[in-house]
Amino acid sequence: MDIKIEHKPAFAAAVIKLASGEQFAAENGAMVSMSSNIRVETSSKAIGGKGGLLKSVGRLLGGESFFNNVFTAEGAAGEVVIAPSLIGDVERYDLNNQALVVQSRSWLGSGPGVGLETTWGGMKSFFGGEGLFFLRLSGSGPVLFNAFGAIHLIEVDGKFVLDTGHIVAFEESLNFKVKKVGGLFATVFSGEGLVCEFEGKGKLWIQTRNPKEFGSYVGHKLPPREQ
């Protein structure tokens, strides 16, 4: 398997070259183009043979599609091009018997040796209106994740505070907690609301744009939605 990410960071797309018999799973709707010998199987099961209906429901709650597609090169080598629906960046991470936590809307695809399960940011993030859902990817193989904006890597060693709207992915060696940005006044009026405090040593990927901020900025200029 050979993966190339092209047109970073604004219009990133991944070109995945598969040898005969190789497989790659991708988010529903992410396929741009593919060779004619690629077979597509749509499954509501989580990839990697783990999970089942319940896990899929969890993924749905997390804002992800219920289904994902598994691409298989049949009889010969072939390629699949996948891209996220939003403009933005794509990054690759290779798992080697470890786990990566990806914000649920950021999973784009992964190799067949990677398992996927839903986890979440806890009651606090839920009631804070942030609704943080994460996917825990484990096993071995490549993972592709995407973002709104460019993806920026932060090597955390100690503590780092991140606006919840900018989380993309992080290594499991990092712990996090959702907390208020400051005092009551700052929490209510600063426009920053809840933040995520990461602690430990590991990689943290962030997106340089916040979908919610973008949405509310643009949304103010759109006509009101009809009820």
Partner: protein
């Protein structure tokens, strides 16, 4: 204070590094991330002095909030017990400009303001009908004194050295030095000028720098609205 801007022009983000004792003022909602020793203080936009100045700043912020979806509040970030850093990015897709202002004043579209050092005074100026910039620019921000300034735009940014005269579509003005004079002129008929807020151009004259943006949110929105379902 150190600045590094990455991912230009589509998704620019500025990393501002502060030494102990330094601070930076950032538009509300624009903080992406920060070191954990940052203290945040929230205040009402602008650094206008005096009761009238503060009132004007509040009024301007309120109008920006209502019409532009911008926040009334600004946050001041100060690292405690050592150096710290703040990552800042605007809501829209587009570029960021960092400028050291040393004497002279700069006019900035209110929606383009991103951050500034506390020593730079930012005043809200009512520009009157002269400045119907794309229908949202009744107020401009004006810098006074010296300090650092970050402003953002929609799309890519272009710096133009004006010497003589130069004409810009009003929706594409981001910032300009106050050595430049400007006049808003109608490009279409009287009706479109008065009714739509479109069809206006700005004629700059004199010698100084001007920053324009390649795209314009209002134009994009007008393109999108007819595509929306009922």
């Amino acid at each position: 204070m150190k600045n590094e801007i990455r991912y230009a022009p589509a998704f620019s983000m500025a990393e501002i590094s502060l030494a102990e004792g330094e601070a930076v003022v950032v538009e509300s909602g624009s903080m992406v991330g920060m070191s954990d020793n940052m203290q945040i203080k929230t205040s009402i936009g602008g650094t206008n002095r005096g009761l009238f100045g503060k009132l004007l700043a509040f009024l301007a912020a309120l109008i920006r909030k209502v019409f532009g979806g911008e926040s009334i509040f600004m946050n001041t970030y100060t690292p405690k017990g050592g150096p710290g850093r703040v990552l800042v990015a605007p809501a829209l897709a587009g570029d960021i400009v960092h400028k050291k202002v040393e004497g002279g004043s700069l006019y900035v579209q209110a929606t383009a303001y991103l951050a500034s050092s506390p020593d730079l005074t930012i005043k809200t100026k009512w520009m009157g009908l002269k400045s119907l910039f794309g229908g949202e620019g009744l107020f401009l921000l004006r810098t006074e004194g010296s300090g650092e300034l970050w402003f953002n735009c929609c799309g890519a940014i272009k710096e133009i050295e004006v010497d003589g005269e130069y004409t810009v579509d009003t929706g594409h003005i981001v910032a300009f030095e106050d050595t430049l004079d400007f006049k808003v002129k109608a490009v279409g008929g009287l009706k479109s000028t008065l009714m739509s807020g479109e069809g206006l151009v700005t004629r700059f004259s004199g010698k100084g720098k001007l920053w324009i943006q390649s795209h314009n949110l209002s134009s994009m929105i007008s393109w999108v609205i007819p595509m929306l379902p009922n």
